[in-house]
């Protein structure tokens, strides 16, 4: 056992020797040959605190901060002297500002980035900064475009890409309607990169499956009247509605939908950005009770989801919002990768991302984070089971579980119906 531990360390040390030299030059110390690591790791959170997606920034940042707290606790409990720090910056939901925000956190020492929230921002940061420096970025942007982008292996996403989510939505809708062919789905989406991307991906996939599409109807997040849009979505009594939106805008559209008198929540299917439980006060409950949501992995109804919910709602700051579970996982992954790498070096951290996220390895959730850290120091491969899903990064850096939860809101809470496996 000792022998294998040493050879493991030898391999690790050989891979990390250049990195260790660099980190030494940078002023951080590593001590990868003992049981006690000693360095500081900075996670950079770049989120939209202002701009079109401004409502997303504070809840996402809170989630990453909680992750950092958990990492610090686990590090202490496991007897390491690794400290985790969080630095945040505002992307203003704009690619130029996002690039500047990323530079700010990287200059403050960040070696792993969580966020940003949209694909254009992610591309700006990737091409301008992180690709060249091998800094891992974990955006919550879900465009299928990012799969095909040459990112040098630096982008990983805990939120499932649109093409997989579209398949899950199709599965959910088809199950309810019996079949896709000849059935009309009415699409509504927020007129932003996320909404437009997912809406069009779903439209293409549904039409390929033989179905018909009404719309898609896009709407601006800052309109002063959503009645016309709601009217177009519910017109002609479609067989189902699919929405790609965020809670703040959807609250306004949902009220308008209910007012038309023709809206049936049981026919509504929404994507993960709206899969919030309990229903937030900004969305009329009648619009969601009976509706279905797709969400990656196995978060709903599991113990770890409940634990995360308790952690999140018990902490000061904003309430639950879209994708906060994904951002929490992103933060934890950054930290675990650093511990696995035994250093704060970006390239080394990047190299560990796949090794700690499954599918191989001993499974740990965040409640057992200290044990996961100890296992890493002991040379065991771990599989971090996120609150947003089982992770399992594939060759493109996307979650490849392909497993989605289909859930239904009952009395304001999301309840798991079943799981579905999607194959792209």
């Amino acid at each position: 056992m000792l022998g294998s531990k040493l050879s493991g360390f030898r391999a690790l040390a050989a891979a990390l020797l250049p990195a260790a030299m660099i980190v030494a030059a940078c002023g951080g110390t590593t001590n990868s040959s003992g049981s006690s690591l000693n360095f500081t790791m900075t996670i950079g959170d770049v989120e939209p605190f202002t701009g079109d997606l401004g409502a997303l920034g504070a809840p996402s940042d809170k989630a990453v901060k909680l992750a950092v707290d958990q990492l610090n606790k686990a590090s202490k409990d496991a007897g390491l002297s690794v400290t985790f720090k969080l630095v945040s910056a505002d992307t203003q939901t704009d690619p130029q500002a996002a690039l500047s925000a990323a530079r700010k956190v990287v200059d403050e020492g960040a070696t792993c980035l969580t966020g940003p929230a949209t694909t254009p921002e992610s591309l700006a940061i990737l091409n301008g900064l992180t690709k060249a420096r091998k800094i891992t970025m974990l955006p919550s942007a879900t465009s299928a475009k990012l799969r095909k982008t040459d990112d040098g292996g630096t982008i990983f996403r805990t939120a499932p890409p649109d093409n997989l989510q579209a398949l899950a939505l199709i599965d959910a809708v088809t199950k309810q309607l019996g079949s896709a062919s000849g059935k009309t789905v009415s699409i509504g989406y927020q007129n932003s990169p996320y909404g437009e991307g997912l809406a069009n991906t779903f439209k293409d996939a549904w039409e390929k499956a033989g179905g018909k599409i009404q719309g898609p109807v896009g709407y601006d997040p800052n309109l002063s009247n959503y009645n016309a849009e709601a009217g177009k979505i519910v017109a002609n009594n479609p067989d189902a509605y699919v929405f790609a939106d965020f809670p703040d805008t959807f609250g306004k559209v949902a009220a308008a939908l209910l007012r038309t008198g023709k809206f049936d929540a049981n026919k509504l299917f929404v994507s993960d950005a709206l899969a919030v439980s309990p229903i937030p006060s900004s969305i009329p409950a009648a619009a969601l009770n009976g509706a279905h949501a797709t969400n990656a992995g196995s978060p709903i109804g599991t113990a770890v989801a409940a634990d995360f919910d308790k952690l999140y709602t018990g902490a000061p700051g904003p309430g639950r919002y879209a994708l906060d579970d994904n951002m929490f996982d992103a933060g934890i992954l950054c930290g675990l990768a650093a511990i696995a790498a035994g250093s704060n070096d970006p390239a080394a951290i990047n190299g560990q991302m796949r090794k700690i996220s499954g599918p191989n390895g001993k499974e740990f959730t965040f409640t057992k984070l200290a044990d996961a850290v100890k296992a890493l120091r002991a040379g065991t491969q771990i599989h971090y089971m996120g609150v947003s899903g089982a992770i399992n990064f594939d060759a493109s850096g996307d979650t490849s579980t392909g497993t989605f939860d289909i859930s239904t809101w009952k009395n304001g809470q999301l309840v798991l119906d079943r799981k579905v496996d999607t194959k792209p």
Partner: protein, 320 residues
């Protein structure tokens, strides 16, 4: 890879500030157009971001959708932007000051709305990619050159240099134009349009020319911005972009082209520097604080020192 990482660390925030320098340069170029319009012709062009968008989108569409060479696409796109300036100008410059401002901002909003919604042409909300292959090649060559003097890792230097060299070139052009008969007519129009007309100058035509030239300058700023973020994205070309340009304009001083550089560098130094402020406020509030600062700059400069830093008090005489 290894040498790359070793040299970055001791430079600390230099990388961040180089990025700020690029943005300041882009905004400085953008605001040169505003200075031409507002400071030297007397027309309040609140739609400059729209012209920037037209230039940038035209460039990207020609390269990406139609396979043009960038060396052809850039001048053509600039002409397209100038044409847009003429089209907007023809009805707009007839209007009185405030109306002109509102007309230009409405035109810019239509441009932004089209950019966002005409998905087949403009890529919609996700924008356009892939137009910068030529620049990437140039950049690699430039970084190779820099490597010979040990600066190969400062990957922002090529764009920083391009931006400020472009600014310098435009500055020289505008200075020169100012001292031509054309430039003198513009100033005459700004100071007293009726008198200029009485002397036989067609103020209408000159104002349109001024707007078209500003549109071209805006388009150039748009190209550099696109190279910096490597994509064309509709949300970038917002009214706020123009408003920040005006903050720079008044900070540097009306009637001073070199003031534009000073104003841009100062404003961006403050705006971006504010990212490092450590206040007991949550991050979204600190973010709002940075934008609030832009508003305060506008108010305090206009209230307390309307000529800005390098402007002259006499230049503040504006019609309407």
């Amino acid at each position: 890879m290894i040498p790359h990482l070793i040299s970055i660390a001791p430079f600390g925030h230099l990388d961040f500030w180089l990025g700020v320098g690029i943005v300041a340069g882009i905004y400085a170029i953008f605001t040169l157009g505003l200075q031409l319009n507002v400071g030297f012709t007397g027309i309040v062009n609140l739609g400059q971001a729209g012209f920037m968008a037209i230039g940038a989108y035209a460039m990207a569409i020609l390269i990406v959708n139609y396979g043009w060479s960038p060396w052809l696409a850039l001048p053509v796109a600039t002409l397209v932007a100038m044409l847009a300036g003429v089209i907007v100008g023809m009805p707009a410059v007839r209007l009185r000051g405030d109306y002109l401002a509102i007309a230009t901002i409405a035109a810019a909003e239509i441009v932004q709305s089209t950019a966002q919604n005409a998905i087949n042409l403009t890529g919609g909300n996700n924008g356009l990619l892939g137009f910068d292959a030529a620049w990437q090649t140039i950049q690699i060559w430039a970084l190779g050159l820099l490597a010979t003097i040990g600066l190969g890792q400062m990957d922002q230097i090529p764009l920083f240099a391009l931006t400020w060299i472009t600014f310098g070139a435009l500055l020289v052009i505008l200075f020169t134009l100012q001292h031509t008969p054309w430039g003198r007519v513009l100033r005459a129009i700004r100071e007293n349009e009726d008198a200029a007309e009485a002397l036989g100058k067609n103020a209408y035509a000159y104002k349109i020319q001024s707007l078209a030239l500003a549109a071209a300058i805006g388009a150039i700023a748009g190209y550099l911005l696109a190279l910096n973020i490597t994509l064309i994205y509709p949300g970038t070309y917002s009214a706020d972009f123009t408003f920040i340009g005006f903050a720079i304009l008044v900070l540097g001083g009306l009637g001073s082209y070199s003031g534009v550089a000073l104003g841009s560098i100062l404003l961006w130094f403050v705006l971006e520097g504010a990212r490092f402020i450590d206040l007991p406020l949550s991050a979204d509030k600190v973010a709002a604080l940075r934008l609030l600062i832009v508003g305060l700059v506008l108010i305090f400069i206009m209230a307390l020192r309307p000529q800005g830093i390098l402007g002259k008090r006499e230049e503040m005489v504006l019609r309407g």
